[in-house]
Subunit: 467 residues, 2 copies
């Protein structure tokens, strides 16, 4: 029951209001590509993708290395689809999905999973809400049966709604209001996006969460929780034909929901200003800075720009081999941490972030100037082919790790399909990454990382602010 | 055919994204109060307020000093009520109201007004859209007849919509995109409001305006243009009984529209950060700074806070007697212009703004520091009773001028009623202003003008930015 908008980046000092999982997990695909890397690989079948008669999309990723299956249902509904003034309802609903149905009492599903030694989770993001179990293959039908049941049979009474609303309010207090990084992150996001609902936090604004009620929950459930708005992803030790049979037997009984209009959200206007957002708090001990820009996503980008932004983030700030880390941490020893990330798997626009925190008594402005200099150096001088090849190789290695993990694979397909992509997009992605040129990386840096439209977040200890 | 969100403040260097008219014109009411000021006053009848049988509200403000009437229709629909992604439709619709109906061809209404020597206008703001004519009393019925006709009988074809959309796009290009002050103002507003639709410009975002179409216009017209969502305000040389008869004869024939839900918009969350918005442009010759805060409005405030904010703006920055002007312009000669304003007549929250521009070669940071010092001085030391009394007197004088102007009076009643107020609110307002204490002024300054949640806008010439 997480909402994945408050996850923390690797060594970063601030929370990101993006979908971190996406950055870490967007990954590779299958066979054809893996062969070209020359990596050892296990026998794999092709990914299969089909529709049930009620409109539910199904993706099966066979993986017979171990007797385990990952079962996920992705709903194409996230916080950016919420009605105005109802922020938090998508995440609230994720909580309510763990309540009782007309068939099973609250907690029965979870107890069943625990009994058979499985694990489960759920998460809400801007563009989707997903539910997940990992169990042995013989339990797959039971999981499907429980999941199909709660797709339509939840009992949503005030007795259920009220106490669970207290839970999400407490979750916000603990994870956001009690956390200066998270509070800053929310307002950076609200400043970065001037029009798009990505500006609204996934967990919701407190004053709106407090008013979420049974009517809101029922309307949300009836509109969005239906097989024709869902994607079933099954990865693991199971045959596609078996999945199809089980899915028709369980989910196939759930009637279609309303035909939903296209997911058209308000888009960003042209931005014309440089903005800063500063949070000063006594709980902060080390200052930090982040610089953010609106960019295209994999869904909205054209001409390989998203792939180039991914590689730019890798070269500029992806781990210890990156330019930022080498210059600021290793060589000049002015930063304790620095990096960059690009959250490309979004239905609409996305964002690019660079961050840093000073080492020891170094000033934050020195770190910020060094970050600016590294960005300017890429814009003016570009990247070398050697750097680009190394970045592609690092990507490839991280993908191999992701691919080796069954739930990562299920995640990648689910995220991609829930944000407007296709199975083919996942499979062709490594080739598209390989096709990116150094000129393209330089071009996206120049086009999107413009100083005069950047939004910079500062997290400061009390004493710094008093100077 | 103006939208009044881009008006310019008195001597200010920047456009305001507020309803300037409101600040300048919110004013006084009638008889009882005017008597206490000892000003000469003409014979006046009481303001009358009643409903037509179809739900249209009517306000009549008799004023027999000259043979003239001001006829206004206020629709309780503004840009903050627009559907998501349809920004600009309220203002666009204001333009469409000048097109042909099934009874009168396009331009006929305007020609009629010109023929009889009258004048007309219309404007759109966050909370309302209003149409206005000033004519001789014998033409009132004709005006009502034309206005009632276009309330329901517009012909909205693609042939009408397309060319008028080009007009509003050109209006945006000329008034906003070609004007750095206006562009900055838009992004300051979008940063100041993190959740409320007041963050979206009244004229609309260009990319959304470009897509406004016939379906949008028809849906908007059918939902909002109806007598039960409108207020008729007639001021001038006419008897209330006559207005009632004419109104029933014209507007009374227009059928009720749909019952609309309460105008509940997303409200602001608690704000926790200090923000800046910087626009650098070669067209700017003198830099300027504005500091902005979200505050309550007359509609949302409790305990006289809106009245206290009005007086605070007057003492701090209302004209040449204000603290800011006296300190920065007269005494220290560091500013070419400075002032403050509070836009209190809003349906939801409002905002308070302080601004300044340097004199000669003085630095902007000096002006900004001096503004901060004046605010801090009020927060720590309050205002004197003498200052407060003088501010109340200046208010009173400006109100007398407003009151002396028939269309100002019509404006005041229309704005107040369209933003949730009543005729009594207008009439009791001077007494409520008089009741404000120096402690209350100090209290609202301390409560709302907090440095750590301020949004500061900077408009800079190119060379300043390069330093």
């Amino acid at each position: 029951m997480n909402f994945n908008a408050q996850s923390l980046p690797q060594s970063g000092r601030r929370a990101i209001a993006g979908c971190l999982l996406l950055v870490a997990a967007f990954a590779p695909a299958p066979v054809a590509w893996a062969e070209t890397t020359g990596q050892p690989q296990q026998q794999e079948q092709q990914v299969e993708n089909f529709l049930l008669s009620n409109g539910m999309e199904v993706v099966v990723i066979p993986d017979h290395r171990a007797p385990i299956v990952t079962h996920m249902v992705w709903y194409k509904i996230g916080s950016a689809d919420e009605p105005a003034g109802k922020s938090g309802i998508a995440h609230f609903f994720e909580h309510l999905m763990f309540k009782g149905t007309s068939t099973h009492e609250a907690g029965e599903f979870g107890r069943k999973i625990a009994e058979i030694g499985g694990s489960e989770n759920a998460f809400t993001s801007y563009d989707y809400t997903a539910y997940y179990q990992q169990v042995s293959p013989e339990a797959l039908e039971t999981m499907m049966s429980f999941e199909a049941d709660r797709m339509r049979n939840l009992i949503l009474t005030d007795q259920v709604i009220g106490p669970e609303r207290d839970v999400i309010l407490e979750e916000r207090r603990a994870r956001v209001d009690g956390n200066p990084e998270a509070l800053l992150s929310e307002e950076v996001q609200a400043t970065l996006y001037q029009n798009h609902p990505y500006r609204i936090p996934v967990i919701g604004w407190m004053h709106e969460m407090e008013k979420l009620n049974r009517d809101d929950a029922v309307a949300f459930y009836d509109r969005y929780y239906a097989p024709n708005n869902a994607i079933l992803v099954v990865a693991g030790d199971v045959e596609p034909a078996t999945v199809r049979t089980l899915a028709e037997k369980t989910y196939g009984d759930v009637p279609r929901g309303p035909d939903l209009p296209p997911r058209v959200r308000p888009q960003e206007p042209e931005q014309n200003t440089k903005r800063t957002v500063t949070m000063t708090d006594e709980r902060v001990s080390i200052p930090s800075v982040s610089r953010n820009w609106v960019t295209p996503s994999y869904t909205s980008a054209e001409n390989g720009e998203a792939e180039a932004l991914d590689l730019l983030s890798e070269i500029l700030g992806g781990g210890t081999r990156s330019r930022l880390y080498q210059e600021l941490v290793v060589k000049n020893r002015i930063a304790a941490g620095t990096g960059a990330y690009f959250s490309g798997t979004m239905l609409d626009s996305s964002s690019f972030t660079v961050y840093g925190a000073p080492h020891g008594a170094e000033g934050l402005e020195k770190v910020e100037a060094a970050i600016e200099a590294e960005i300017a150096r890429i814009i003016s001088g570009g990247v070398t082919d050697a750097e680009l090849d190394a970045a592609k190789d690092r990507f490839v290695r991280s993908m191999i790790f992701a691919r080796d993990n069954q739930s990562s694979m299920a995640n990648i397909y689910g995220q991609t399909l829930a944000t407007g992509g296709t199975v083919e997009d996942v499979q062709e992605w490594p080739d598209r990454i390989r096709a990116v040129t150094a000129d393209q990386v330089q071009a996206v840096a120049a086009k999107y990382l413009k100083p005069d439209v950047a939004v910079t977040g500062y997290l400061l200890p009390e004493e710094t602010a008093r100077n």
